[in-house]
């Protein structure tokens, strides 16, 4: 009877009549050796599993450095039309790391979102906010149109139709004032996301709405989460190899 046997068994090995038991011993040497062997095996397995796992999961926690790049001079852009600029999203991987930004001058009549030093030029990301296909600007319609699933955006990059969940992402732009290094050039900085009110958020992936509950369902990532507020965004570096 198991219940009875359990009741009878003492925690001391000596009481259970084990050969070679020590006085006051509660764990048999066999049980102890089992534990040590399993423990050693566990440590040995963890010694290669944990570093490998950390290696695989590391990119989630890695912070990305900010980058600024020159996209032209003031003469290149107007308020009325978008200029297509090839920009580098990831360094060192050639074509796969390139993307396109649609850039125009800020038009105070049209762009009602608050004006600061980071949006003298409006630079829209070409990534459709449905699932990330590249949108194309159609001059005649003044619309951005996505070839994949029919997303349509208006001139300001707001959703005009189709499945996209938020307006086109934007890039910080910066125009160094006179006397500062790099004066005369337009800089394109990190990407940020906007909700339907064009409020700024840290950059999200396509398909993640930022209106209402969306901003809580899709938290900002570790890799890009701690985007400095516009007040302490690091200033662009001096122009490399370009004399004024």
């Amino acid at each position: 009877m198991p219940a009875d046997r359990h009741k009878q068994s003492s925690k001391y090995t000596a009481d259970r009549g084990m050969p070679g038991a020590f006085e006051g011993e509660t764990v048999t040497r066999r049980r102890f050796m089992e534990g040590v062997t399993h423990g050693a095996g566990g440590i040995a397995a963890a010694a290669f599993t944990l570093p490998a796992l950390g290696f695989a999961l590391g990119p989630i926690f890695k912070r990305q450095p900010f980058q600024w790049q020159i996209i032209g001079t003031a003469a290149d852009f107007t308020e009325q039309a978008y200029v297509t600029k090839v920009i580098t999203i990831v360094e060192g991987i050639g074509e796969a790391g390139k993307s396109i930004a649609y850039v125009r001058k800020r038009d105070p009549q049209l762009d009602k979102e608050p004006h600061d030093q980071w949006n003298n030029y409006i630079a829209l990301s070409s990534r459709c906010m449905h699932l990330g296909c590249p949108v194309r600007y159609v001059e005649a319609a003044e619309r951005f149109i996505c070839p994949c699933h029919g997303g349509v955006y208006n001139f300001r990059g707001e959703v005009a139709g189709g499945p996209p969940v938020r307006p086109l992402d934007r890039f910080y732009t910066y125009v160094p004032p006179a006397g500062h290094p790099g004066h005369g050039y337009i800089y394109l900085g990190p990407r940020y996301s906007v909700n339907s009110e064009l409020e700024r958020f840290s950059p999200r992936d396509p398909g993640q709405p930022l209106d209402g509950i969306g901003q809580f369902l899709y938290p900002s990532r570790f890799s890009t989460a701690v985007r400095p507020s516009i007040n302490n965004l690091p200033l662009p570096p001096t122009v490399p190899g370009v004399g004024s």
Partner: protein, 262 residues
């Protein structure tokens, strides 16, 4: 003139002496000796007999071969994949596309083996769903075969993951944008989505490591898991036996029909 002794007929065996063997018989004998030598030390033939010579129910038909068809599709993917890996280069800076172009244009039978791998992937998906439908409609997932079904579902998910990671590897426009879209679909999962995306891409953007990451997952991580699970799946199939088709009435023992007087 008598023939030389070498070409002449061998002398007939003396009484009580075993008959001389011709080369074919000698070869057979050698083969049996080797197999016996191995089997005496491993007893593999028992396991093979257990695996191969099983009793199967009446009424089984061609639909019951869909599982082995899927297995052969997997083996096709494994073999052609190994040989493609000899030429493939997961270089995001144009090298991946060039290596695939080289396989298709220059390597002897390269386009054929690449095609086997590419079309074989679709064939495998189709076969899996046919196999699954057979098991479902024949009720073969019921007790005691639930675990076999669950492992099969895991295998289906792993096969879809193989399709997703393999689609990027040719690294042409279609691969690139399909992967962007696929990763972003994963990103739309609430709460976890943003982190899943970073994990899949190896960073916040499609970067230098994304392709090699997909390649390693595609050719090492998932195939190993799948091979292990297929082994377990087959063990369960053998252990539990094959279920009879549902239209077959079970023969009840005579004793059941006996009327017992009380």
């Amino acid at each position: 003139m008598p023939l030389p002794k070498l070409l002449g007929r061998p002398a007939p065996p003396a009484p009580g002496e075993p008959a001389a063997m011709n080369p074919v018989q000698a070869g057979q004998e050698a083969g049996i000796t080797v197999v016996d030598w191995i089997d005496e030390r491993t007893q593999l033939s028992q396991g093979l007999r257990w695996l191969m010579f099983r009793k199967v129910p009446k009424g089984i038909n061609w639909a019951y071969t869909l599982g082995s068809a899927t297995l052969f599709a997997f083996l096709n993917q494994a073999v052609t994949g190994v040989f493609l890996a000899m030429y493939y280069r997961p270089d995001v800076n144009g090298g991946a596309y060039e290596s695939i172009r080289n396989i298709n244009d220059n390597v002897f039978l390269g386009q054929f083996v690449h095609g086997m791998h590419k079309w074989g992937a679709s064939v495998m998906i189709v076969l899996i769903f046919l196999h699954m439908a057979r098991v479902f409609f024949f009720g073969a997932y019921k007790y005691p075969r639930e675990l076999t079904w669950i492992i099969g579902v895991v295998l289906l998910i792993l096969t879809l993951a193989m399709g997703f990671t393999g689609y990027l590897l040719p690294f042409d426009q279609r691969s690139y944008w399909a992967t962007i879209v696929g990763v972003n679909i994963n990103n739309t999962a609430p709460f976890l989505g943003p982190y899943i995306g970073d994990f899949l891409r190896g960073g916040p953007e499609f970067g230098a490591t994304t392709l090699s990451r997909f390649y390693a997952i595609h050719m090492m991580l998932i195939p190993g898991l799948m091979a292990a699970l297929i082994g377990f799946h087959l063990y369960l199939v053998t252990k539990l036996g094959i279920s009879a088709p549902p239209w077959l009435k079970a023969h009840e023992p005579e004793a059941v029909h006996e009327v017992v007087e009380v």
